[in-house]
């Protein structure tokens, strides 16, 4: 039975010890811990929300990216096509121009050749004429002693000239 009777002295000791402990822990101990736990919970909630938001934005960005990519692809295809066209055009143009200039060159060359040929012919003729004149001179000087001969020669020469032509 004596176990069930609270001893006043023990109560007083308990009141003193527990009073001090309760005062310290209620004032400085547990509020520190609970406040921090609450703050962290709040922080985690906020972080989760932020993460969700970021995810959403990321998804948006992804979409945007996809769209941009699609657009870019289209643009690329367009540019490529344009470039191909342009290339073909340029090539065609260049070909045309090259052809033209080639023709012109050939024409020029031909003209040149013709002129040179004419020139050459002309100079050749002159030389031949000179040569024939000289030959004639010589022949005339040597063989124009007789009249018959002279006449024969003249005839021949004229014939020559005729056939030469």
């Amino acid at each position: 039975m004596d176990l069930l009777i609270p001893e006043v002295g023990t109560i007083i000791w308990m009141l003193i010890a527990a009073g001090i402990v309760f005062f310290i822990l209620v004032k400085w101990g547990f509020p520190m811990i609970t406040r921090m736990v609450d703050e962290r919970d709040e922080y985690i909630d906020k972080s989760l929300l932020a993460a969700k938001e970021a995810n959403e934005r990321l998804a948006g960005i992804q979409n945007e990216c996809d769209e941009l990519l699609k657009e870019t692809r289209a643009e690329k295809a367009r540019i490529l096509k344009e470039a191909t066209d342009r290339r073909d055009e340029i090539i065609a143009e260049a070909e045309a121009r090259a052809k033209e200039s080639g023709e012109k060159l050939i024409a020029d060359a031909r003209e040149q050749i013709r002129l040179e040929k004419e020139e050459a012919l002309r100079s050749m003729r002159r030389q031949v004429a000179e040569l024939s004149v000289q030959v004639a001179e010589r022949v005339v000087l040597k063989e124009l002693s007789t009249d018959e001969d002279q006449l024969l020669l003249i005839d021949r020469m004229i014939d020559d000239v005729k056939t030469g032509k």
Binding site: M1, V8, G9, M14, A17, A18, V21, V26, F30, I33
Partner: protein, 360 residues
């Protein structure tokens, strides 16, 4: 832990054996451990007993103040007219023998085993919680969560706050959370310290009714000092047919008794649970010494069996240590919640909760 108990109990057994020779004084051993004492027996090595003699402080109406060490009581059993009585309501306590032969119980302010245990536990609790709080003072809420011991403390604190205090107290639970957490950790630590049988631990603190009474008084005052108007109205003028409260205040009378039965229930529940657990473990320990007298054939298997049961009981008591701290805190939280009703309907819901928890 069970092993330690086995080590420490033979010491106690041997000193009762020398007193009563051959028989094992089971009752003496068990009550010697359950009850408070003026000295703290630590260990007996061979013939030499090592124990802590605690200061005795007495105030007698007849002879005034007395201060002495409990060592003085050892040789003759009495000192300055005081001796430890064996019978009556004050068995195990110091009483004064007056010149006319009658006995008087003085005001006993001695630093007894339990009182010292309370102080040791208090210091330990302060150190543990303040060390934990220091971690929080040095960190920001954006830092990663703590690990190790601080993490364990945070886990327990968060669990008690979220599972017990928040649902039981209700709206402004944050105001009461530190107090209820302190109650929880004080009881938990005291319970566990009571299970460890070697020196700084080992005092049967929460198995002392004065301690549990003081703890219940903390709840009692918190409930009744911070109770709001609605609480007092429900006690003095409850919402029942008038004939139950008008000529004879039947229901107010019951409600007022209820104010006092709540802390009483808290006191007895904790005290009885811890005392019973300790008594069972000590009884199982005594089985070893009783059966050892009957010879090795009975003694050996019974010792093995008793050690097995002691391990089981110690683990069970560890669970009980936690459950009782939990229950005390939860009931305190419920009582506080009841003392702050907001409106009628909200209150009824809490009351149902309360009845459910009371039956456990």
């Amino acid at each position: 832990m069970a092993l330690m108990l086995v080590v420490s109990v033979p010491a106690a057994a041997s000193d009762t054996e020398t007193a009563k020779d051959e028989t094992v004084d089971v009752k003496g051993i068990i009550f010697g451990h359950l009850k408070d004492s003026y000295h703290w027996h630590i260990i007996t090595i061979g013939e030499k007993e090592i124990s802590l003699h605690l200061p005795v402080m007495l105030y007698s109406k007849v002879s005034g103040w007395h201060f002495f060490s409990s060592r003085e009581l050892e040789e003759t059993g009495s000192y300055e007219g005081f001796h430890i009585t064996d019978e009556g309501a004050h068995a195990g306590k110091l009483v004064e023998t007056l010149p006319d032969g009658s006995q008087l119980k003085p005001l006993d302010l001695s630093l007894t085993k339990v009182a010292l245990g309370v102080i040791i536990n208090s210091i330990m609790l302060c150190v543990i919680v303040m060390c934990t709080a220091r971690w929080y003072r040095r960190h920001k809420s954006t830092d990663p969560a703590p690990g190790g011991f601080v993490g364990l403390m945070e886990f327990v604190v968060a669990m008690i706050v979220d599972d017990v205090i928040k649902p039981s107290v209700g709206k402004d639970y944050k105001r009461y959370a530190p107090l209820l957490l302190t109650i929880f950790f004080f009881i938990l630590l005291s319970n566990i310290m009571g299970l460890i049988p070697i020196f700084p631990a080992g005092a049967n603190v929460t198995g002392n009714i004065a301690i549990t009474l003081t703890l219940a008084l903390v709840t009692f005052f918190t409930v009744n000092v911070f109770g709001n108007r609605e609480y007092w109205k429900e006690i003095l003028w409850p919402d029942v047919p008038v004939f139950l409260k008008a000529p004879i205040p039947l229901l107010p009378f019951i409600e007022i008794i209820g104010i006092f039965t709540k802390p009483f229930a808290l006191t007895v529940r904790l005290f009885a649970n811890i005392t019973a657990g300790h008594a069972i473990i000590l009884s199982l320990t005594c089985v070893i010494f009783i059966t050892a007298k009957m010879g090795p054939v009975i003694g050996a298997p019974m010792t093995v069996l008793s050690v097995f049961f002691m391990i089981f009981m110690n683990l069970l008591e560890l669970l009980v240590a936690y459950i009782q701290a939990y229950v005390f805190t939860m009931l305190s939280a419920v009582f506080i919640g009841l003392s702050r009703p907001e409106e009628h309907h909200a209150k009824e819901k809490v009351k149902v909760n309360d009845e459910n928890t009371l039956t456990t």
